[in-house]
């Protein structure tokens, strides 16, 4: 029913440095439907932010290698920088992680916002600011904040302000990169709910929400994609990923999250032994194999993306062995 806003096919982007290639994004495939919130989760260095940078702004040493990224039918990997700039804010927009640094410290927010939209050929007239004020009301900020400097706002307020600015031209697609991680739990909840509200009211189209925190994704995302060390691990509907993970990494990740009601003395959680591999000139094979309890010789080959359920895809040779039984603790992953 719903058309795809974004179609990503086997996208590869490496950091080219003197020592060789850091394969930070190595063959990722997924689609994003109109009006959908897709969560991307993984540890630091898994390639989730590289994915965002590849789509938005590729600065050296980050280099596009191969694959497709079609935004509304246009392959944004192939178009010129000038053409892409026209699409920014209108078709594709990003809510940055460090909202605290996203403002100009010497400009009042009103001036900053005017300058920004002028770049996109929009006149910052009274009608425009009426719209801004309506949006501010949504996030429970007074219109007077427009005449303040960014340092006068608290962290949570800045994050909300930057959400409004990023979405002021009603973009078809936004990337929210770790927007909740620097915030307190109460602001976190507000910002996450806000993202859903912006989508529900039709202000933004589809959303990619990047975070390391699976429990936030569970609250707002419709589908979740898990990445590990630059490779695609698993994608599927939120409930399916959480209750029936098929990739050993997803399973271990969920098992390592402490929940309210779980105490050390009653139920010891298992972490994952070891650390992610270095991505510099990394060879073939599943990158989780060094920490994986299901590892066999077959894992020396890079696993294929396979359909394992309804809208549920996984890249693991052993997905059939995993998740057939529904136990909650990941004790067996503790290793020896």
């Amino acid at each position: 029913m719903a058309e795809n806003v974004l179609e990503i096919k086997d996208l590869k982007a490496y950091y080219k440095i003197l020592k060789g290639d850091v394969k930070a994004l190595d063959g990722v495939t997924f689609n994003l439907k109109r009006g959908e919130i897709l969560g991307i989760a993984g540890e630091s260095g898994c390639g989730k932010s590289t994915l965002a940078s590849t789509l938005i702004l590729r600065k050296p040493p980050l280099t596009y290698i191969s694959g497709e990224a079609k935004l509304l039918g246009t392959d944004i990997m192939k178009i010129s920088e000038k053409a892409f700039k026209k699409m920014r804010l209108k078709n594709i927009s990003v809510i940055p992680q460090y909202a605290l640094d996203a403002f100009s410290p010497t400009k009042r927010i009103r001036i900053f916002l005017s300058d920004l939209v002028k770049e996109h050929g929009i006149r910052p007239n009274r009608k425009f600011f009426q719209k801004v004020e309506e949006r501010l009301e949504m996030i429970n900020l007074e219109p007077s904040v427009l005449d303040r400097y960014s340092i006068e706002l608290s962290g949570g307020m800045k994050q909300r302000m930057i959400m409004i600015i990023s979405t002021i031209l009603d973009p078809d697609f936004i990337i929210a990169d770790e927007i909740t991680s620097a915030l307190d739990v109460s602001s976190q909840r507000f910002v996450a709910n806000m993202l859903v509200k912006l989508r529900d009211e039709g202000i933004t189209g589809s959303v990619i929400f990047i975070t390391h925190d699976l429990s936030i994704l569970y609250q707002i995302a419709e589908r979740i994609m898990i990445m590990y060390a630059g490779q695609f691990a698993e994608i599927g509907p939120t409930d399916e990923i959480v209750s029936n993970p098929r990739h050993p990494y997803t399973k271990a990740l969920i098992a390592s999250l402490p929940q309210v009601g779980v105490q050390y003395k009653d139920n010891k959680l298992a972490g994952i032994k070891g650390t992610p591999p270095h991505l510099l000139n990394i060879g073939e094979g599943c990158r989780f194999r060094f920490r994986c309890p299901y590892k066999t010789d077959k894992c020396e080959q890079t696993p294929q993306r396979e359909q394992v359920g309804d809208h549920h895809f996984c890249s693991c040779w052993h997905w059939k062995e995993i998740g057939t039984q529904t136990e909650t603790s990941g004790g067996e992953l503790d290793g020896k």
Partner: protein, 304 residues
């Protein structure tokens, strides 16, 4: 043995003054009282700016309290100031901070970093190598592989465990862990946490675990302290607080933790600003009640 308080924090207040002549005053911590028992894991939970780190720094003698007392092992240590006295204190009270990457001298190998512990705290000790290896092994690190490395060659989880090993070497009474694992990934941090609790129980060490993460606080601690705007608003057994939160701020915290398997109420319009109003109303309704016990080992601040 279990209930012997090793550290008593009494009516602690810290006011920061900014500006030289007519300074603006910020009350960072106000009238905070709690005990730390031997072998207990205490989590100190609060949002940014709630004063949790200030308390940690006062206990570490990095800041002087404006008012109040610190009683360690029956001795008033609020005003110790000389180098000698402080050194004796640091033999027993140590801290681990958030960022493991900046907690080590990048120019020194790990063995030198460990040797420096002996140089400054335990000059007379002979079997240094043996003790170092013991403490490394207790945090599941291989001494042969670790000792000749520089800090940048190790991962965050390894460095964080090294910090714990360094504290173990001194056989400390109190360990203050300030946002210990917030820089680590989900899969590695549980390992570090499990280790910390295990060692604490084994050696009878007291840990003050400062965090903003309620789930982690619940997972490891015996006692929970909740801070809000410099005040200790709820204090008691972890389970009691989590099952029966009384203070409006604590309630709000529990409602907003994201949890797998339990979705937020979408209909509810949630505003972080309203918490201040709720707290004020709560204080007004319970005027004059003060810091009162609601059940055994569970106290709540009812009014300012």
């Amino acid at each position: 043995m279990e209930n012997k308080p090793i550290m008593k924090v009494e009516n602690l207040t810290k006011v920061f003054t900014s500006g030289i002549i007519a300074g603006e005053k910020t009350v960072a911590v106000k009238d905070v009282t709690f005990n730390m028992n031997q072998g207990e894991v205490i989590s100190l939970i609060g949002e940014s700016g709630s004063g949790k780190t200030t308390i940690g720094r006062i206990i570490l003698k990095l800041l002087k309290p404006t008012e109040g007392k610190l009683i360690y092992n029956g001795q008033d240590i609020t005003h110790i100031n000389s180098r000698h006295e402080k050194k004796d204190y640091y033999k027993k009270v140590q801290a681990i901070f958030q960022d493991p990457f900046s907690s080590f001298n990048p120019l020194f190998r790990i063995d030198r970093i460990f040797n420096m512990v002996f140089a400054s705290f335990m000059k007379g000790v002979k079997n240094r190598r043996e003790l170092i290896e013991q403490s490394l092994e207790s945090v599941n690190l291989n001494p042969q592989r670790i000792l000749n490395k520089f800090p940048h060659q190790l991962s965050g989880g390894q460095l964080q465990r090294l910090l714990i090993a360094r504290a173990l070497l001194l056989n400390v009474d109190i360990l203050i862990a300030d946002e210990l694992i917030s820089m680590l990934d989900a899969s590695t941090r549980i390992g570090v946490l499990n280790l910390l609790v295990e060692l604490c129980k084994k050696n009878g060490m007291t840990v003050l675990f400062i965090t903003h993460d309620l789930n982690l606080g619940y997972y490891i601690s015996d006692t929970t302290l909740i801070m809000y705007k410099g005040r200790l608003v709820e204090r008691g057994d972890t389970e009691k607080i989590y099952k029966n939160p009384v203070h409006p701020y604590t309630k709000m915290l529990f409602e907003s933790i994201p949890e797998i398997g339990n979705k937020w109420d979408k209909e509810e319009t949630f505003l972080p600003e309203t918490v201040i109003q709720d707290v004020k109303t709560f204080y007004r309704e319970n005027e004059g009640e003060g810091f009162k016990e609601v059940e055994a080992n569970h106290k709540v601040l009812f009014s300012e």
